[in-house]
Symmetry: none
Subunit: 129 residues, 4 copies
């Protein structure tokens, strides 16, 4: 489980960490109940302050993507479709916003659908534990 931080990125470091871990989870690289590095481990690996990792993990836990067991570590949460309908609404709204701008930029419906098919082909058949 490795990723790098971009210190020139405008986003806060903890946002980058969240985004990276989230990507590892939704791409299926990290499986359900798999252990992820402890706060201290990751802080050392990335050479940043543990507080920053702490904040990222806490956020991910609130979002239902990971869970922590005291004295054991943090783990990938098993997928639960019903867990966050709010997140789904949010994504749909973002999706519509992006599509609207694509329409404005003269991207054809066919091109847009092609992107959808492409993503589903790449990620759709991945195993989910």
């Amino acid at each position: 489980m490795m990723f790098q931080l971009d210190f020139r990125d405008k986003r806060p470091l903890y946002e980058q960490i969240k985004a990276n871990i989230k990507e590892l989870i939704i791409s299926g690289i990290l499986k359900s109940d798999e252990r992820i590095p402890s706060v201290r481990e990751l802080a050392q690996t990335l050479t940043i302050n543990p507080n920053t990792i702490q904040k990222a993990y806490k956020d991910l836990e609130t979002e239902g993507l990971i869970y922590s067991v005291r004295a054991k570590g943090s783990f990938v949460a098993p997928f639960n479709a019903a867990a966050n309908p709010a997140r789904l609404d949010e994504l749909m709204s973002e999706l519509e916003k992006i599509l609207a701008e694509l329409v404005y930029l003269n991207v054809s419906q066919e091109q847009a659908i092609a992107v959808v098919r492409n993503v589903y082909e790449k990620r759709g058949v991945k195993a989910r534990d």
Copy 2:
């Protein structure tokens, strides 16, 4: 041309202003070369500082969505497909990220494509100047 600011929103005010005006432009409500409110006018309407509007307008201008003429006012920029290849890349990348998360949340490809068709139906045939 009216919209409201949400002072509880965590985003900077000028970002909200940008987003609102952008939406008015890409939705076709504001037409090419149509005049938008002056910096002072809008500041008064929204009861915020003119500098904040100024910043939003300046940003929108560098993004190619509006143009400002000294002593005349600010106007919607005529659409220019070739103007913003970078923005298109950015949008495509965002699109893929959202779709990836939708895959993870078990949204079917058919549902995703339905959203695309829906947006194109609603906005695709709008007149452009």
Copy 3:
């Protein structure tokens, strides 16, 4: 003698007018002692305020590029190399600044010299009445 103004240009209108007339003179399209449009004529052609033209002409006269004869009109000044050594210094300084940035952007000396040759080829042999 025609040119167009770009109202979206950030420069003041009178600067654009100056630049256009200057280009017509240095490119040899307007010859020495040739008459240029009166303030009123040009103002009407461009549909802008005569004061703006007035200011442009006054500036050009100060720079030695045109001269005005009361009740006759304005004319292209005959070329006089010794007239503005200051302008030459200014140009040389600008030239060096641009070249310095080209160096930084990895443009080769050969490319730069090619541009020089190209311009001289195009404009060098033009007749100067």
Copy 4:
């Protein structure tokens, strides 16, 4: 890293600041990833308002010459040839304009080329990070 502002200069202060820092970068005095003074530091040194520096830095960042890291400071961006094709076009166009006027002022092609060679000799072999 020192320079002075000319308060009689007609250009905005932030433009002067930008020009000065740009010169330090393209001349190689400031190296890649080298830290430049913080907004507040420089404001104090020049005895002007921090907002003015902020604006200059922001502009330099969008031009790709520096990058800023929150809570860390601002730094010289590593050179990226592909980053700025638009700027190159702009410079070339300016170069041609200046050369055209030099032709008009009877500066010989040889003299112009000599200037080019001179600049490349002075700056061409500087180290880049």
